[in-house]
Symmetry: C2
Subunit: 307 residues, 2 copies
């Protein structure tokens, strides 16, 4: 899986940072989280491809959605035929419909807008689910967790052969959890040749939010937590007033959830290009790998057992 930061600015963009958008790619699928103004050009710049599987909006502030009509209009020119679903927090679906109507965004491919409740599974796939969770940003808002399904344990082929299992369909039966019987009547149980199930990967994106216990539980043991960090500690009051987080607060969430990596985004334009304080203040509170991605930063998320 690969996560590409298409836009990392706070509410106001800068020359270097576009408004919010994050692309997650997995096995040829492309999931877009938030669509700030200019996202379509960022996708061109960073050669991500335009074949989007689905779009997920965390909330409807302009810096998270104003790139939506332009992107959908440009997708039309790619001769897209596949339907496209836009997931958005409850009570905001009508606003998205209005935005598309007001901009005469009526592509020939089908667009559906689907509201998601906090806790609801937006996409339920064999190999993963994408689940909304409650956030706290003074407006209808959710975060999204991308959670891979547990994979089967490793099959120990060498051990199976030692036990006399003939190469062939019995291997698969064992790997799928069924016991088999050898010609001599010996019964082999799956756990003799199959390791423990292997956890999938977990990536959590908060969107804009105050720090929250719910994020801790959703992000528990996550491979990557993408948490907003609009301010440094000095502006703790301002973060509280505006429904945002300081990087120290985001790092505290990461520490409590024991995540591997913490990506801090949505940094206020007041810090210009100098995010060193955002980063260093976070490092004081968590042992996770901390980074403040630039626009275009791509992170590869390996399986935990590939480490």
């Amino acid at each position: 899986m690969q996560v590409t930061f298409l836009g990392t600015s706070g509410a106001i963009p800068t020359i270097e940072r576009n408004p919010s958008a994050i692309l997650l790619r997995r096995d040829g699928e492309r999931f877009l989280f938030d669509v700030g103004e200019g996202t379509q050009r960022q996708m061109m710049r960073y050669s991500t491809g335009f074949d989007i599987t689905a779009i997920f909006l965390t909330h409807l502030h302009g810096d998270h959605i104003l790139g939506l009509p332009g992107l959908l209009q440009t997708l039309e020119s790619t001769e897209r035929a596949a339907p496209l679903t836009i997931y958005t927090p409850i009570k905001t679906g009508e606003n998205i419909t209005q935005l598309l109507a007001a901009t005469e965004t009526n592509p020939t491919y089908s667009v559906s807008v689907q509201e998601v409740n906090p806790g609801e599974i937006a996409v339920d796939h064999d190999e993963y689910r994408i689940q909304a969770f409650e956030t706290n940003h003074q407006t209808q808002s959710v975060g999204y967790a991308f959670i891979e399904t547990e994979r089967k344990g490793r099959f120990d082929r060498e051990r199976a052969e030692e036990l006399g299992v003939p190469v062939g369909p019995k291997f698969q039966q064992l790997h799928e959890g069924r016991s088999i019987e050898l010609d001599d009547g010996t019964v082999i149980q799956p756990d003799q040749v199959v390791g423990d199930p292997r956890p999938g990967r977990r990536i959590v994106y908060t969107g804009d939010t105050r720090p929250s216990d719910i994020t801790v539980s959703v992000a528990m043991d996550a491979d990557l937590l993408i948490h907003e960090a609009m301010f440094t500690q000095e502006s703790t009051d301002r973060a509280w007033q505006t429904g945002h987080s300081t990087s120290q607060e985001a790092a505290e969430i990461a520490r409590r959830a024991d995540v591997d990596r913490l990506a801090l985004t949505h940094v206020s334009s007041r810090y210009g290009n100098d995010t060193s304080e955002i980063e260093s203040e976070a490092r004081e509170s968590t042992d996770a790998e901390v980074l403040v991605p630039d626009d275009g930063t791509s992170l590869t998320i390996p399986y935990p057992d590939q480490d």
Copy 2:
């Protein structure tokens, strides 16, 4: 006066070209024509300043307006107090109002949307007027002409002194077109010391359009004609079908209007970075200086008598 091209792409942006927007600066005033997605960041990139006097929309296709909500939201953060008027073709005002409503763009400064008919003077200032004119683009559309008022002729101070006019208020009376009487009874007429009125500058922007006789008359003797040129001659049929112009057609308009400079913009993304054919085909039809501006290109428009 200075014209800065903030976005020069066709309907679909490219890595190098943002959708349409043009800023005209004159004596501290800033007039923005069209506001494609991403315009606010282009203004940052090219350091134009955000103190916009008024906005003029040629038509409501996405590539000309989708940067409007984001720009208006960002203007709020500049602590703008001055009211802002958005001029837009007749029958499109309600759509702009809907776009601002759907994006919750309710800035604290006042925003008014004013429809303009083709031929109507949108802004009438002592020193210039900004006038809409009819274009032909399969939707409600207008172009805009920025026309400076004729300035008084040059005052020939040396000649006035030779004629015995005393230095002082009589100089001004003559320059303003009133005759004066010297102490000895001699009457001096203004045309003895004041040259012919000097023409102001004229800049014409078509927006998207088929070539049109009306553009010829509006752009007559213009210092700068900014004409769309989406296609090369090979795609003449396609230009006709989509309500656009070829560069050859744009150049023909420039030739008939005898303009000094022709800037070709809104070039289709199919040409990538190679606009040489767009340019060379235009050069075959007009003696005007022809250019295909890049994003960020700025042109200074001198007074004709400064040449």
